[in-house]
Symmetry: D2
Subunit: 373 residues, 4 copies
C-alpha cells in the first residue's frame, strides 16, 4: 500500500493517542496505507521536539500552519482545545488535506456546520475522534440492532460518567470555558450522544436539565483565586429517537468513583444489550426467545469473530485496550481515504451530534423540550 | 409480647407475601408482638379457604367487611388491586384498625390524601408495602447519606425495570386500567420514587416522558379481542430534589431480560453508592478519600453488622431473600403499633410518592416541568 | 395434611435455622405435613426457654432425652456440636423417631456408618443439613448434568471458603477439637464435598494437603492462655470421580474477605456451569453449541421456572435467602416421611461424605493418594 | 536513546505480537532504546515476506541463521514452536545476541538449564514471553505481597483455563507432541506457575494429577486419521511454597467457555486479592482492617497511578489490552539491555518454571509428591 504523510497538531492526551495509532496501524492492518509521520506541531516547542523524538516524526514545529501548508502531508490531525479546531480545520481543508479532528469539533453546531460544509465542498475526507464506537463489540451491537435481532427497540439508557472534575479543587481550564468547552455535555456527553446515534440513529427531541455542582474552581492550577463555573457538571437528557423509542442520556464529570462509565442498556421487544466501557471487551446480550429455564444475559467476550479484533490478536478473550480503539479509528480513516468505505464519524456526523448538544443546553435554559431538525 | 390479631384481604402474590411475613415475624424478631392469623378474605371462596388452610388462619371469608368488622382483628392487611384500597382502608380506619396496605395505596394523590387524612385523624398506624427499602443494606445506604459520609449528594440515577409486560401478548388487566392501575409509573415507578425519597428526601420538580410501547393487548387472558393500552409501559423522569441535586428515574415494565432491576447509582462529593435488587445483599461503595493506588468500589456484603440481618442469620454473606424483606416490613409495623419507632412508609409517605407519580403523568401530557408542592 | 410433632435439640445458629424452617414450611408448601413445634431442648435452660417463647414451642427442656422420649414427637432435630450427635441420634432412632441432624453427623466415617446402619435397620427417615444443595438453581445444575446437556464432564473446581477463623484471636472451640470437629475439612469441606457428589456422583480417589495456618488460639473466648490448633485451617483436595473426571476441592476457613464462597466451576465437553453461594440465585451457563459471535456465559436468575422457587414467590428474580434453603430441606424431609420421594441427603449420604473427609485427612498425613471404597 | 537492531524468527501469533510490541515501544516509552526492525525469518518465505511488509522489517529470510548471524541485530526474538528454541537460542547466544524467547523455552528443565547456563556464561540478556505478569495491576499485587500489606500469605488458587482444545476435532499439532509441547501444563500451566512464582516466590513441592480428556484427535487439520493424545488436557497441582503457604494450580485447555481465565485468589492474614485476565485492568482487594460495616472487596481499576499504565494513557479506567502487555515486556527487556533493572523473567526464571512443570508431570506419573530443588 502507498505511503501517506501525517501531520499532527497538539501533543497532549489526544495528540499522543493519535501518534500511537498512526504508528501502529500498518502493523495491525496489513492492507492499510502506510502513515509516514512527517510533522508534529505544538505551540510549546519543547513538547513538539520531545514528541517528534518519541514517535519518530521527521520534523517538529511550533506553528501549526507549517503542518497545513506542507505538501508532503495528506492528513492533518487536530488535537488541540476545541476553540482552535475551526481555524485549523478550515485552513487544512483549504489546502486540500484530509482532516482528523478531535471531538467536539466545534463549540456550537453553527461552527460545526461551517466546517462540515467546507469539507464536503472541498471533497476531503474527515474523521472525528469518537473512538469508542470503533470497538468491535459495539460493531456487533449495532449489527444486531440493524438486523432486527432485538426486535423493535423500546428504550435506551446511556451514560458517560467520570470523576475527573469531581474534586472542587480541580482547576478551571478550556473545558470549563462556555465559549470553547461547554461542560460535561460537550466533553463527554458528545461521546454518549454519538454512541446513541451510532446504535439507534437520529435523535429528534430532547428535554435536558444541566446542573453546575461545583460553583467555582481555582482560576488556574494552583491559583488561590477562584473563578465561577458557568458550564454544566452534569447533564441529564430525555430524548426521543426518529425510530420512535425514547431514552435517557447522562453526561457527568463529577461522578465520584467512575473512571470510564460510558455505558448503556438498550432494550428491544426481542432482546436487550448492556455495555460499559469499564469492561470494553464484553457485551451482555439477552434473547427473549431463549429456553425459559436456562435464559439470561450472556456475557459475550470479544474475539476474532468480531472484526477487526482478529487483526490485533488471533485468540479470543485476550482483550483490546483504549489505544487499540484509536488504531481502528485511524485504520478506517485511512481506508476511506484510499477509496474504501466511509464509516465516519465525519464532520457531518459531528455536526449532528453538536446539534443535540446545543439543543440540550437550550432546553435546559428554557426548561422546555426542544426539537432537533 | 402480646398477641395481635391479623386479617388479610386478598390471596394473590402480595396476599401470600403478607401471610408468610406475619407467620414468620415472631420467630425472627424475639421482641415482636405475636401476630395471630385470624381471618383471610378473598372474593374467591376457594382461594380464601385454601389460603386459610395453608397459612393457618382461623377463619376465611368472601366478604372483606367481615375482616374489618371483626373485633379480634387489630391489623387489616389490604392486598387487592389498587382500585379497591380506598373503600377497604377507610372502612378499616373507621373501625379503628391499623392498616397495612399494598402499594400504590390509591390511583391518584387526591385519594391517597383522603386515606392519609382519615388515618391520621383516627390515630391508627399505617404501613405501605414498599418492602424493598426494608433491606438492611439500604438502611446502611441511607445512614451514609444522612451522616454526610458521601458529602454533598450530586446525583441519583434510579431504575425499576422488569419485563413482565414485555410480551405484547401479555393480557390486559387492572394494572393497565388508567382509572385504577396507572401503568409502569404507578406499579413499579412508585417503588423507585419511594426509594429515591427514602435515600434523598423530597422531590420538588419533575419532567417526565411516558411512552406506551405495546399499543394493544388481549382484552383478557386468552382473548382474541384486543384492547388499546392507555397507560405507560415506560416512564422516564428527570427530577430535582429539595436538597438541591437532580436525578433521573425510570420505570419500565417492558425491559426485556430484566426481572428485578430496582437499581440506583447515587453520587456525592465524597463518595458514591451503587445498588441493584438483582443482588440485594450487596452494596457497592466508593470513598473519594481512599488511597489512590488501592481505591475502588468496595462490594459490601450484608451481614449481622447491618441490622436486622443478624436476626435472620448470625453469619455474614448467607443472604436474605425477598420474603425476608417483607418480614422486616411487618416487624417494623408491629413495633410501631406497640409504641416503637414509626419507620413507615405510612399513608402520608404513600401520598407523597403518589404526588410524584401524578406530577409525572401530568408533566408528560403537558410536555413541561411540574412542581411538586 | 396431617400434623407432625417436632422436637429440636440445640438453640444456636442451626437450632434457630431449623426452628425458622419448621415454622415456615407449611405456609410455603401447601401440601406439606404441618409441623407442630412440641419441644425445644438446650442444656442452657434460659436459652431453651427463650427459644420456646420465640418460636412457639409448647415446651422447653434442659434434658435432650425428654425430646427423644416424647411420644408426641415424630421428628428429632439435632443441632448440637458434632460430638453429641451419635448418642442423640441413636437414642432417637431407638425410639422410632425420624432424625434431622446437622452436618457433619459424626466426627469420623465409622461413627457415621454406625448411625446410618441404625437408622436403616430401624426404618426411620433421616435428613442431614447440607442445605445448600436444596437451592432451586442447583437442582437445575444437577438436572443439566444428568440429562447430558453439558456433555462428558471434564472437570470440577469446588471451593468452600469463609473467613470466620481468619483472625488468630478467634478462640478455640469444638470445631477445633480433633476428636469432635475436625477443622475446615469437616466443618465446611463436607458441604463442598456433598455438593460435588450431588452434582457428579461418587468420589473414588483423593490426594489432600491439609494445613494449619494459625498455630495457636486463645483456649476460650477472652482467655489469655493459648491452645495449640491440631486441625486444618485449609484443606486442598485433588479428587477423581467414579464417572472418570477429576477435580479439586478446597475447604478454607481463614479465607480473608470471603463470607460464603461455596463455589464451583463445572466443565463439560458441551457446556459449563459456574456458581457461587455469594450470589445464590444465579447460575452461569455456557453452551458450546451457541452462535460463536453471540456466545458467552448466560447468567440464569432463579425464578418460578426453577421449582420450588415459585412457592416462595411467583415473580422471577426476587431472590431466595439462606433460610429459604433450609425451608426446602425441611419440606423435602417432611414429604419423605409422608411417603414421598427421599431426596436426602440422608445418613447414608452423610457417611459417604464423611468417608471422603476421612480419606482426605489420612491422605494428608500419609502424603499419598487414598482410595475411597 | 540509541537504536537497537531486532530480528524475529517466526511470524505466527507470537511472532506478530513481538513485532507489534517492538514497533510500538519507543512511542510509548520515551526513554527506551529504539528498536530497528532488521529481519524477520520464517521457513515459509511468503509469510516472512508478508510480515516484513506489514511490520516494516528491512529484510526477510527463510533461514533463521541469517538472523542470528547478522551483525546489525542485537536482539533475536524466537517465536517458533518449543522444540526449535534450543538450537536457535544457543546459536544466538553464541553470536553474542540478547535473546527474547517465547515460553516455554524448552520441553524440559534440563534443556532449559542448558540454555540458561549458556546465556549466563555469555553474559547476554534474556527475556521470556510470560507477558501476563507485565500487567501494571499485577505489579501492584506483587508490591502488596512484598510490602506485607496482606500479612502472612495463607493460600493461593491459580488457574489458567481456556477452551481452544475443548473440541475433540481440534487437530493434533506441536503443542500435543510429548517431546516438544507437553500439553496444557506446559502451554498455559507455565503461565500460571510463572505468575504464582512472580507473586509468592519459589514452589518447593508439588503433587499433580494430569488427565487426558480427549483420547485422540485428527492427526492433522482436516485429516480423517486420528492420533492418540499423549499429553495432558488438564493438570491439577497442589503446591507448597518456600514461604510456607500452600496452594492449587490448574492448567486446562478444554475448559469449555473460558477464553482467558488466567486467574487467582491470593489470601493473607491481613488481606486478599482476586484477579482474572478476563478483566485484566481490575484487581479485587480486601483489607481485613476495614470498617466492618463498610468492608468488602474493592475493585481497583488500572490507571496512571499504576506504572507504566500512564505511559499508555493519562486517564484512568481507559484500559490496556493484550498487546500493551507485550509492549511492556519489550520495554523492560530493552531497558535491561541498556543497563537498567533486569525484571525478567529471564532464562533462569524460565528454568525454574520448567522444573515445576517437570515435577508435576513426574508427580502425576508416580502418583506421589515431588520436591523441587
Amino acid at each position: 500500500m502507498r505511503d501517506i504523510g501525517i501531520g499532527i497538531i497538539g501533543t497532549g492526551f489526544m495528540g499522543k493517542a493519535h501518534a500511537f495509532a498512526y504508528r501502529a496501524v500498518a502493523g495491525i492492518f496489513p492492507d492499510s496505507p502506510r502513515p509516514v509521520l512527517q510533522t508534529v506541531a505544538d505551540i510549546d516547542g519543547a513538547a513538539a521536539q520531545k514528541a517528534a523524538a518519541q514517535f519518530g516524526f521527521r520534523r517538529w514545529q511550533t506553528d501549526w500552519r507549517a503542518v497545513v501548508e506542507d505538501p508532503g502531508i495528506e492528513i492533518v490531525s487536530i488535537t488541540t482545545p476545541t476553540l482552535a479546531h475551526r481555524e485549523m480545520a478550515l485552513a487544512a481543508i483549504a489546502a486540500g488535506k484530509h482532516v482528523h479532528c478531535e471531538k467536539p469539533i466545534a463549540p456550537d453546531a453553527g461552527t460545526a456546520r461551517e466546517m462540515m460544509e467546507a469539507a464536503e465542498t472541498a471533497g476531503v475526507v474527515t474523521q472525528v475522534g469518537y473512538n469508542y464506537i470503533k470497538n468491535p463489540i459495539l460493531k456487533l451491537a449495532r449489527s444486531m440492532v440493524e438486523a432486527g435481532e432485538l426486535g423493535d427497540i423500546t428504550g435506551f439508557r446511556g451514560i458517560h460518567a467520570e470523576d475527573y472534575m469531581a474534586d472542587a479543587e480541580a482547576p478551571h481550564g478550556w473545558r470549563l470555558d462556555p465559549a470553547g468547552g461547554g461542560g460535561a455535555i460537550a466533553d463527554i456527553g458528545s461521546h454518549i450522544i454519538g454512541l446513541a446515534r451510532f446504535l439507534l440513529g437520529p435523535i429528534t427531541e430532547v428535554n435536558a436539565d444541566l446542573q453546575t455542582m461545583v460553583a467555582s474552581r481555582p482560576a488556574a492550577p494552583g491559583a488561590s483565586e477562584r473563578r465561577a463555573v458557568e458550564v454544566d457538571d452534569i447533564a441529564r437528557l430525555t430524548v426521543r429517537f426518529a425510530r420512535g423509542c425514547g431514552g435517557t442520556i447522562e453526561a457527568n464529570w463529577v461522578a465520584t468513583g467512575r473512571k470510564m462509565q460510558l455505558a448503556f442498556e438498550l432494550t428491544g421487544s426481542r432482546g436487550s444489550l448492556v455495555f460499559t466501557q469499564e469492561r470494553l471487551n464484553e457485551l451482555l446480550h439477552y434473547r427473549a426467545d431463549g429456553d425459559p429455564q436456562r435464559n439470561g444475559f450472556a456475557r459475550i467476550e470479544a474475539g476474532p469473530q468480531h472484526p477487526p479484533y482478529g487483526l490485533f490478536c488471533v485468540a479470543p478473550g485476550h482483550q483490546l485496550g483504549f489505544n487499540d480503539l484509536k488504531t481502528i479509528e485511524v485504520a478506517e480513516f485511512l481506508a476511506a481515504i484510499a477509496g474504501g468505505e466511509k464509516n465516519g464519524p465525519d464532520f457531518r456526523e459531528a455536526w449532528e451530534i453538536q446539534k443535540v448538544v446545543d439543543a440540550a443546553i437550550d432546553s435546559s435554559r428554557a426548561r422546555a423540550w426542544r426539537r432537533i431538525e
